[in-house]
């Protein structure tokens, strides 16, 4: 189905199932521990051997020698895979560093061997007997030092300029020019990357934990130099991804190679201490923001430049994109610069681009409001724009930023905020309120599904869409139920299998809108098939209550399907609506913090997010997405930082003890409000993404609240107590 004109009224608008708060249909499996994750598929593969990954202990250089003799001789060892014996491998389109290193080493903990043994313990013990001699080479590990040598990224689309930024900034009566930094961060999902691989002749099946089945199927085939038709991926349940499982990673490749070498299925889970440096991470940024405004608060000039680093061939963190779109202003500039670093590969993590970009931009807006003597909510409202400020003939499809800010301010008690920082106290706590806008683009990408109606009236949906804990199963079931006029109990959803039609997958908050639109398209086709079989005019047929009706004739779906059932497959494909309209999601974050007057410990007291993100398909799972994202925002603001060892070139705190993310005690009270919104430009579902919107801006709202509480402006994340301490009040 081609979607190239705005949606009109369609069966989804009945909202009999869609839009209703619906508990996850996979919930009982999760809460009873019966949802099988990749590593646990002994039901499918009862005889898997165990693989243990050996990671490089240097960041850059070469393996001079590798002695496998002791490891080979260790009890239970079946095979050892290295780059030297794995045969010629290709490289995935989405991979920057190779997944099996050697002799060249590109980053710390790059996999250099897989030891396969009868038991996990044997594999682990033997892995420590692999003796490696390295020729260590120097590398670049410090973004601040590499910054001056950073260059324009190769894709060429990195800079944008509108009007005359330099002239307007110089002429502006009120200006800000500040630099902000965000650190390297890791996904820290609960379930590690994990795979079971089994060969049947020249055909390969892998059970894995992955967000993007089609990408990864292609890249696995490409890396193994085999046709992708002979590769099957199965990933029905994913224990968290956050962008870390968008791609083929070492667990999958090495399990496949290990299984080939051992002549039997092999399972591999990346060891927790290895994951951080072995896989991808969100790269650190240095961001310079300049804003010029009239005294009444109208922005006349805005510039956002960002520096990040990556391995050769890697991409920059696109931290400036929101600044092209979020606020008005006739003169604008953005630029990305990329430095070469020899740290592990930087890539997508939890709202890549906007998450770190908004962390900087929305502090800058707070600082600018203060310079102007304006309330930070009011300053943002004054600079709202209903069109793409760089291309004024291109409107936003739907933009309710002002409504989010206003409603949030009202609901949160923003009027009670003391605009003078450092003056509010509650016992030992200095208290403060902060606000930030939320913004994340809505991305459109094709997505397909297959639907079947069987002789019992059950609708089965199959698509390679994944559910990474987000609720995909449930919203897809709601969509199919709405379209076919059945209850949720008559819908079965099967996901995450490369033998199903290719979907949008899970990433960039694009999964919900696109994958359900794909299911919509397939259901439209199935409705036509049902109507056609019954001789109904499909435009007149009404699907409701398990029946299809036209005029005064009604036929139960089960009967219409007959013994053989009916099936249809289709997908959604987009025209140029996203060129003609700017599609984005909007929100406002409000935060109250307490800062211990003596120790400067920062504790969040309450949070509110107001979101305007199109139709909310399932308010229950959408709320869970947003509160999860707000929690990630707390982590980013207050504690998450990969510490770089700038001598040896690796992330030092590479386990869950060293890399802190929020615990329950850090998150006392969160509230989420969804504005009533539909966006007919986005898809027939009139929905948009929402999960990552909940993250974009939270960090700045917290940093701004800390400023309001203490009067200390921290521009380097995370905002930790050591950055406040010397400007806190006298103790006692």
């Amino acid at each position: 189905m081609k979607f190239d004109t705005p949606a009109t009224t369609n069966p989804i608008d009945r909202l009999a199932v869609v839009g209703k708060p619906t508990p996850r249909i996979d919930g009982p499996l999760k809460t009873t521990g019966t949802a099988p994750y990749a590593y646990e598929r002994q039901d499918a593969v009862p005889d898997a051997a165990y693989g243990y990954v050996v990671g490089s202990s240097i960041a850059k250089g070469r393996i001079a020698a590798m002695d496998l003799a002791d490891a080979r001789a260790a009890p239970g060892v079946l095979a050892i895979v290295t780059a030297g014996n794995a045969g010629k491998l290709g490289k995935g389109e989405k991979n920057t560093a190779t997944l099996l290193g050697g002799p060249e080493i590109e980053h710390y903990h790059q996999a250099i061997a897989l030891v396969v043994a009868e038991s996990f313990e044997q594999a682990r013990a033997a892995a420590t007997l692999v003796r490696v001699t390295y020729d260590r080479a120097g590398g670049a590990f410090d973004l601040a030092r590499a910054k001056d040598g950073a260059t324009k990224p190769e894709d060429g689309a990195s800079d944008s300029e509108v009007g005359d930024f330099a002239g307007a900034f110089a002429a502006a009566p009120v200006t800000l020019d500040e630099t902000y930094t965000t650190p390297d961060q890791t996904h820290a999902m609960m379930e590690p990357h994990a795979t079971i691989a089994a060969w049947d002749g020249d055909r390969l099946t892998v059970w894995l934990s992955n967000q993007m089945i089609a990408w990864t199927t292609g890249d696995l085939a490409r890396t193994l130099n085999m046709p992708k038709e002979k590769v099957r991926l199965i990933s029905p349940f994913v224990g968290g991804g956050f962008g870390g499982k968008l791609f083929l990673r070492a667990d999958t490749l090495l399990a496949a190679l290990g299984a080939r070498a051992a002549g039997r299925p092999v399972k591999v889970a990346l060891q927790r201490p290895l994951m951080t440096n072995n896989t991808t991470h969100r790269p650190a940024t240095i961001q310079r923001i300049r804003i010029g405004a009239e005294r009444d608060g109208a922005i006349t000039a805005i510039a956002h430049e960002s520096w990040s680093g990556n391995l050769p061939g890697g991409d920059p963190e696109t931290a400036v994109d929101q600044t092209k779109l979020l606020y008005a202003g006739a003169n604008r500039l953005t630029a990305l610069r990329l430095a070469r670093l020899d740290l592990p590969e930087g890539n997508a993590m939890r709202a890549p681009g906007e998450a770190p970009g908004m962390m900087a931009l929305e502090i800058a807006m707070d600082e600018m409001a203060e310079k102007l003597g304006l309330d930070p909510v009011e300053f943002r409202v004054r600079n709202d724009t209903q069109v793409d400020p760089g291309k004024p003939d291109r409107p936003f499809s739907r933009r309710q930023l002002v409504e989010c800010l206003r409603q949030g301010a009202d609901r949160f008690g923003w009027a009670r905020r003391n605009p003078r920082p450092g003056e509010s106290r509650d016992g030992r706590w200095l208290t403060g309120l902060g606000v930030a806008a939320a913004f994340r683009n809505n991305l459109l990408t094709r997505s397909a599904a297959r639907v079947r109606l069987d002789g019992r009236g059950v609708v089965t949906v199959e698509t390679d869409m994944t559910d990474i804990g987000t609720g995909s199963y449930t919203i897809i079931a709601q969509t199919a139920a709405e379209m076919m006029g059945v209850g949720l109990d008559r819908v079965t959803v099967r996901l995450g299998d490369s033998s199903f039609p290719a979907s949008a997958g899970s990433g960039g908050q694009w999964g919900a809108n696109n994958s359900t639109a794909g299911v919509y398209a397939a259901c439209v086709k199935l409705r036509e098939a049902v109507a056609g079989k019954l001789g109904f005019n499909s435009a007149d047929a009404v699907f409701a209550d398990g029946q299809v009706r036209a005029g005064n004739r009604g036929v139960p779906l089960a009967e219409a399907a007959g013994e053989d059932g009916l099936a249809a497959e289709d997908g959604i494909e987009y025209g140029d609506l996203d060129k003609r309209y700017q599609q984005s999601t909007f929100g406002a974050h409000f935060v109250e913090v307490g800062v211990d007057a003596a120790t400067a410990e920062i504790r969040v007291r309450r949070m509110l997010a107001v979101c305007a993100a199109g139709r909310i398909l399932n308010p229950l799972s959408a709320r869970s997405q947003v509160i999860g994202a707000m929690t990630m925002g707390v982590g980013a603001a207050l504690m998450e930082e990969l510490a770089v060892d700038r001598r040896a070139g690796f992330f030092v705190n590479h386990d869950l003890a060293g890399y802190e993310v929020p615990v329950h005690a850090d998150i006392p009270h969160q509230e989420v409000i969804f504005l009533d919104e539909t966006d007919p430009i986005s898809s027939p579902m009139k929905a948009k993404g929402v999960g990552e919107l909940g993250l974009c801006g939270v960090g700045a709202a917290i940093a701004n609240a800390v400023y309001n509480a203490t009067g200390v402006r921290v521009r380097d994340y995370p905002v930790t107590l050591d950055k406040l301490l010397d400007r806190m009040p006298e103790v006692g």
């Binding site: 003596a598 120790t599 504690m639 510490a643 770089v644 060293g658 615990v663 103790v731 006692g732």
Partner: protein, 316 residues
């Protein structure tokens, strides 16, 4: 993890003898630290002697009005003991500030004292570490050292001791009771249990190989206001950046021990004479000679400020 043999000890002396016989043997109690280290092959015992069945799990009054805490009393039980809550509040508070409920249910009193550092370089077997592999060097010095020691370290090691409980024990003047392989018992002040690293950071305690802690004795209650204040980046389940255990008497005298700053619970008795003069004076004496890194220099003012808040709280 290397293969190992396992045996259950039948008495403290037998346990001590069993370990002494085998240079590669270790005691195991709660296992909350040792098992993790074995999985990473940081610890590679060839034999584990399980002391869990030794009935060292009661808290009894002592003739001089103190408490004798069995080595195997779980952290959860000790924190909840009404006598501890009433008379040794700093200990109960320190215990509850540590780890998580699940870990406290498993972790024992002696095991808590003997837990090993959380220095990230100690945990990364790809990196040099004098504690893990004597003579290999210290990657933490000049590396990422936010959590590491500002005082008491050496050119060989700047690891911190991670325990909260031990800091309170130090403030309470606890003593450790042990049994040696020959059956002889001795007592060691908790002050002398942990050693500073010097040039042998792999030797962490005064215990001999095979010597088993059987109990920790607390002297009669010290009275006063007993406060444990742990400062950390997140609200729970994190090791201390700095912690303060304080016992403050109504006249302003008292005792102070610090966590998170040194290779052992850090107490300088001479500094306590300064308590009536306030936190600044005490902190200056406590941390005299400190050698912080750029990453952790903030701990010095943080100690002073935290101590100031604790002394103010004690005053009510």
């Amino acid at each position: 993890m290397r293969p190992f043999t396992y045996e259950r000890a039948t008495s403290p002396a037998a346990a001590a003898a069993a370990v002494e016989r085998n240079p590669g043997a270790r005691f195991i109690a709660g296992g909350t630290n040792l098992l993790d280290l074995m999985k990473l092959e940081i610890e590679t015992p060839v034999q584990l002697v399980d002391v869990n069945g030794l009935k060292l799990d009661s808290v009894e009054p002592t003739p001089d009005g103190g408490l004798r805490i069995g080595a195997l009393v779980r952290n959860t039980d000790l924190a909840a003991d009404p006598r501890v809550r009433r008379d040794y509040g700093v200990l109960s508070r320190a215990l509850l500030a540590g780890a998580s409920g699940q870990l406290r249910n498993k972790a024992t009193t002696a095991g808590n004292l003997l837990q090993r550092t959380r220095c990230p370089y100690f945990y990364d077997t790809g990196q040099p570490c004098n504690k893990r592999q004597p003579g290999s060097g210290c990657a933490a010095i000049g590396g990422f050292s936010r959590q590491l020691a500002v005082i008491g370290g050496s050119d060989a090691c700047i690891a911190t001791h991670p325990s909260d409980m031990a800091v309170a024990m130090r403030a309470l003047d606890a003593t450790v009771e042990t049994v040696r392989p020959d059956g002889a018992v001795r007592t060691i002040p908790v002050a002398d249990l942990h050693r500073l690293p010097g040039d042998t950071p792999q030797i962490e305690t005064a215990l001999e190989h095979g010597e088993l802690i059987t109990a920790v004795a607390l002297p009669k209650p010290a009275g006063g206001a007993q406060i444990y204040r742990k400062v950390r980046d997140r609200a729970s389940y994190a090791f201390a950046l700095v912690s303060v255990a304080a016992i403050v008497q109504p006249d302003g005298s008292g005792r102070v021990a610090l966590g998170g700053v040194a290779p052992k619970p850090w107490r300088v008795e001479a500094a306590e004479a300064e308590m009536p003069r306030g936190a600044k004076a005490v902190a200056a004496r406590l941390l005299a000679g400190a050698k912080p890194t750029d990453d952790n220099a903030f701990k010095l003012p943080l100690v002073e400020r935290t101590l100031g808040a604790v002394l103010a709280e004690a005053k009510g």
